[in-house]
């Protein structure tokens, strides 16, 4: 919010100076104020290597690597680069390269669009060279100017010259000045991480529900840690990194952390991004009872009362089966709700959006098993899980966790009984978003992902679980007891534990009140007879 204002103010000053001092190059004229707090010992504007025009991302990276010689090699080992993750418990090979979800479904055959969020340049098809050092994108994470953009459709490349895109559309994407951006590199920020992670699923807040652009500069109420005027945590404050590998994972989350607060010098291989990593296992100082609760209930369950709290709705339901409608002129349709959010698109189908959503709660032990493209699925009333969460009240490893459960209806192959990977994005005659033709889109997409397709298409109901862990409210806004200890308990679906009030025994209550009632009745009858008989005497 503040930055654009400052920029406008600077421009205005600059314009004023120009008027006063006659013609000069605007670039030379802009006085860059010194940052108030230098967090780095290197001022990249002073580096000759960066004082040149860069015509592409890889040119910048080469300049970076001249000094930061090992950086690309470090990146090469990370999920951010490989989009691949071998789950050590389930032995499943996961990562964006492999998984299928119920949002935009899969990256296969859609690389040029999806890889705008890859920390690399040029991943346009399945033949991308993962050994290339110059194709590592340093700026995606280290830009501090806010001007670095990687539009979808360019395979992760920034646009350096004004470009019409899609070709023939008349829409111009403005070129950006990589030299200026390269000279302003610094630490990662909520903005750099958010550029991709706030926009998962194809738009602001769509996917996670607990991450959207409202976290760029949140209030205390929205996130007590990231509070821009308070603690001002960046993502990296919790998701610490070592050799460019960022801690924290949705493929193998830490559901229960018994290690207590991390102290320097203490050897541990645990996840530093858990609540416990800082707060320890007994954080409630006044109420020991709450620490007892915390042995079974994830911190997030009470401390994140609702998600999508920042004014940006998240997608709850996506029905691909209704996609493909056209208006009378044969054009694609877009429908919006009262607030202007899209609820139907010909190319995507129907959406349900929601803000301020109460999570659903499940026992979760951190194990996530995906339904991959190679797995058989069966159409039934029961939704097919895109990712199945492990957990039970008795395994000793599970906690009660808040979840966003995203429900979808997506295309599948009813003969081979598998999910499918349609070709959606792309300015060609098979991409679904342009042509609204499932046959072509799925045939091409399945060929690209290398899996058999029968040619038959049906739709299957799926669901995907997203652990809720961001948007931590201040403690005053944590859930009150009655949210769970009531007959309308938030934990209504949680089995295996006795929750006072939720689990009141109806029979016991009936017997109890009957005894009380009969006692009252006895007392009244006895009293009435006494009154009547005393009058006789």
């Amino acid at each position: 919010m503040k930055q654009p204002f400052i920029r406008i103010a600077l421009l205005a000053c600059c314009a004023g100076w120009l008027v006063a001092n006659g013609p000069a190059l605007a670039d030379d004229a802009a006085p860059e104020p010194k940052p108030l707090k230098l967090t780095t010992t290197a001022d990249h504007t002073k580096f000759k290597e960066l004082q040149k025009q860069f015509n592409s991302g890889p040119e910048v990276t080469k300049a970076c690597l001249a000094c930061h010689t090992e950086a690309a090699g470090q990146i090469h080992r990370t999920k951010h680069w490989k989009w691949e993750y071998l789950n050590p418990d389930t032995k499943q090979t996961l990562g964006k390269k492999t998984v299928v979800n119920n949002f935009c479904i899969s990256i296969a055959s859609n690389y040029a669009s999806c890889t705008s969020c890859h920390v690399g340049y040029g991943w346009k098809d399945a033949n991308f060279d993962f050994k290339s050092e110059e194709n590592v994108d340093c700026l995606a994470c280290h830009d501090t100017s806010g001007n670095y953009k990687k539009p979808p459709g360019f395979a992760g490349n920034p646009v350096v010259k004004d470009t019409e895109f899609p070709p023939g559309s008349g829409k111009i994407i403005k070129g950006i000045d990589l030299s200026k951006i390269a000279q302003k590199v610094g630490k990662t920020s909520r903005d750099t991480c958010g550029a991709c992670h706030f926009n998962g699923g194809g738009g602001d807040g769509v996917k996670h529900g607990d991450m959207d652009s409202s976290l760029a500069a949140p209030t205390k109420e929205l996130d007590v840690h990231m509070d821009a005027e308070g603690l001002d945590f960046t993502c990296g404050t919790c998701h610490t990194s070592s050799s460019h590998d960022v801690a924290g994972s949705r493929y193998a989350p830490t559901a229960q952390d018994k290690q207590g607060a991390r102290i320097r010098g203490k050897a541990d291989k645990g996840n530093p991004a858990t609540c416990v990593a800082c707060h320890g296992n007994g954080p409630h100082k006044k109420e020991a009872r709450l620490n007892q609760h915390a042995t079974k209930i994830a911190c997030q369950t009470c401390h994140i009362p609702t998600y999508a709290r920042g004014g940006i709705p998240t997608k709850m339901v996506w029905d691909w089966s209704t996609a493909g409608k056209r208006d009378a002129e044969g054009k694609q349709i877009t429908k919006k709700d009262a607030k202007g959010h899209i609820i139907y698109e010909s190319r995507k189908g129907d959406f349900t959006l929601a803000e301020n959503v109460k999570p659903e709660y499940v026992w979760f032990n951190g194990q996530v098993t995906y339904t991959l493209i190679t797995d058989k699925v069966e159409k039934s009333e029961q939704r097919t899980p895109i990712n199945k969460l492990g957990g039970s009240p008795t395994d000793g490893k599970s906690m009660i966790w808040p979840m966003k459960i995203f429900r979808g209806t997506q295309p599948y192959d009813p003969v081979n009984k598998t999910l499918v990977t349609p070709h959606t994005a792309g300015n060609d005659d098979t991409g679904y978003w342009k042509n609204l033709d499932w046959d072509k889109a799925i045939t091409v997409g399945m060929k690209d992902s290398g899996h058999p397709f029968s040619g038959k298409i049906d739709f299957i109901k799926t669901e995907m679980s997203w652990p809720i862990t961001h948007m931590v409210a201040p403690k005053e806004k944590a859930l009150g007891c009655v949210e769970c200890h009531s007959k309308q308990s938030r934990l209504a679906g949680i089995q295996g534990i006795y929750i006072p009030v939720r689990d009141n025994n109806k029979l016991l209550d009936t017997i109890g009140w009957s005894i009380v009632f009969l006692t009252m009745l006895g007392v009244f009858v006895h009293g009435a007879i006494r009154v009547v008989s005393s009058r006789k005497h």
């Binding site: 009872r289 200890h485 006072p500 009030v501 689990d503 025994n505 016991l508 109890g512 009380v516 007879i529």
Partner: protein
Amino acid sequence: MAERIYVFKRFERFWHWSQAGLIMFLMLTAFDIHGTYTIFGFEKAVAYHTIAAWSLIGLWVFAIFWHFTTGEWKQYIPTTEKVLAMVHYYSVGIFRNEPHPFKLTQLRKHNPLQRLAYLGIMLFVGPLIWVTGVLYLFYSDWARLGITGLPLEWVATGHIVGAFMMLAFLIAHVYLTTAGHTPMAHIKAMITGWEEVE
């Protein structure tokens, strides 16, 4: 002319009425916690219930001490003598204006049915509520105290059973205070200490 006997000493009256107040407040908060109605709401009701419970425990420490040092505990030794007469009186005699079969003295201030009822409360309902209540209160320390394999549901059920029994007792007890030789005689005695007997 009615005879007057000093039956309830000062501490005993203090004990009775503060206990009565605490128990009624505990009842009020108990069924608030239980979800029967909402006055304070679960969270506050639990806090108040806990404070009142500790207060009552404190009061009981004094009361037990008093009973044993004064020998008043003997008032609760059960007897079968005149039990049937009392049952007959409450079910028939009281309606016929028959005389009370029990002659109250300082050493026998409770009639045989009272003795049985109070003893039952003190030996069964009371301990049930206290034991389950304290277990409930210290649920977070069970593991440390070595309590394993005890389902919380049993503790909760015991506590609720105790609460209903105490409520039923309270109703009958309050009613029977009017069953003296005049409706207000017992109540006056509990306030002033002096009971009028015929």
